[in-house]
Amino acid sequence: MLKLILKRFGVAAATILGASLFSFFLLRKLPGDPARLVGGELADEATIASLRHSMGLDSPLPQQFWNYISASFHGDLGFSYSTGQPVSDLVRTRLPATVELGVTGVVTAVLLATVFAAIAVYRKKRGADVSLRVASSLAMGSPPFWLALVAILLLSVNLGIFPGPEGRLSPSLAPPPTVTGFYTVDSLLSGQFGTFVDAARHLILPALTIAVGPFAFLSRLFRSQLRNTMREPFIVVARSRGLTRGSVFLRHAVPNSLLSLVAATAMLTAETMTGSVLVEKVFGWPGVGSMTVDAILQKDFAVVQGVILLSATLYVTVSFLADIVYVVVDPRIRAGAK
């Protein structure tokens, strides 16, 4: 068990190192001089040269990479060429917004997908099943940024049920004191119920928008998995012992089928957090995604590099967690891990 975890950990570390290596050299080979960006159009050659020296850009690439990696171990990811802020600070302020949005979206998607797929498979009448398949096909075919625009137009502009694209809170409200960085959690922790309601209302539309894609995928996966499980011999055997169809479904078919969702959910979580760039932009959500868009437009390599490192870390973390979940919930894997 410990050996397995250590092995997984090694693979995870290697993946992150590889990703940072790749992004480091890729960005160094792109046209554009960071020193020029920092110094500005009007700086003379001597200033640029001294900037290049202080930024470490005049040392050989392997040396630069080594400096970068060793600094990043201490949490130092360099500083943004455009704003001068440390990248780690930028990430630290932006990440909670993205994680709050991503986790809410994925959890919503998982809950809705499992419930609807379970109903579709359990009901003998085909209506529920057909509607789920139609709904998931439509959902899979709709680009998230378009859904975001439609949602804002319909539910916020026309009907006024939800606030417009103004970020995480109404402009008149101050953010709750930071504990977790999640506004919904922090506002509850500090007892600001009004802020909680406002934060939740701002969260619902973007979260639902990014939940649509994962919902479509997960509901299809769970539906087919449930149908297969219901045909397994052990289901018939359990029925032959006198369990009703309902209890066999809930106690045996659903848990066995849920196993197959773990890996997919992990990947979707990472994908949602790193890939909801446009949705964040449309909703004015101050997350990592909108920061990435700005950084790319301003050739802010340090920030882009930091985001790539973050994405890689996120991916390996969730797949590592998924592996751990498998070891915990599936006795067959647990036995193999000993």
Binding site: E232, P233, R241, P331
Partner: protein
Amino acid sequence: MTTEGSTSTMSIDAARTPADQETLLDVRGLRTEFQTSRGRVAAVRDVSFTIRRRERLAIVGESGSGKSAMAMSIVGLIQPPGRVTAGEIRLGGTDLRGLPDRKLSEIRGNRISLVFQDPMSAFDPIRTIGAQMIENIRAHQPVSKGAARRQAADLLGEVGVTNASSRLADYPHQYSGGMRQRVLIAMALANSPELVIADEPTTALDVTTQAQVLELLDKLVTDRGAALMLITHNLGIVAGFCDTVKVMYAGQLIEESDSRALFAGAAHPYSRELLKCVLRTDRRQDGLLSTIPGTLPDPTQPFTGCSFEPRCPLGKGNPLCRGTEPPVVAVEGPHGTQLAKCHFAGQLELKEER
């Protein structure tokens, strides 16, 4: 001496005595059909029989003859696209066919339980053996978890699992095939059923464990006073184990005999051929083990006449066998009456000598 039974019901039970007090299960005119791309196919065709309390009954036939479909039909677990389309299945006084699934669930695993062929795939892989046994017990007995756990441990001990109470916490993959089959048998008998249907219970096991598992089944069924319906394609394990034998062919029962009578001399040519396929240690046997040439008839094609005719050493090509469905004929022998659905039942020796 041969008397011809009534042909009106086209079933082997035509000459049977009416159901009495000792009758446990009474199946009449059971028909199970599967909807396939080539039309409706009858897997069980108008089967009738009874099982008495404590009776040991063997259903014998080759793969695809409808034995398992019949067993699943009895407990209402025929899976779509299969469906029971006709007949009565009476347990005590109630017709199981008329019961809603919830009521049937109260009978399954309680009054009638099943032992399946493949112990490897019969357990939920992510729940412990104990959890599954407790679930099984508590589905039918209003006992606490603790009491059910003690029962489960006792049962495991009874079927020969050592360290029973600690092995309850093990998962199915930690048990060997033979041990899993023992656990399945324990579970089938946990709620003291009146009838145990064992569908090829030893087929998936290696030869050395087969005998042990059969012995165990024998003991538990006897101890609890249950009736046993043993479904098998292996006549070899029937001898000395079952009181009566019913031979199934192409969805029909074609011979019904006392087990001693069958081994002394089958009344139906198919049973006779089946017996030749059994490896016997009590007789010298020369050459290769015998096989029955040909295969089961295509069930999508309508039958006329005898379903065994194309493979029958006696009746092949005979216009009578090909054109007219055989009646059920009662043959009196030294071990009692044998029933056979054959035009030439009782004349097999005469015909063979020609």
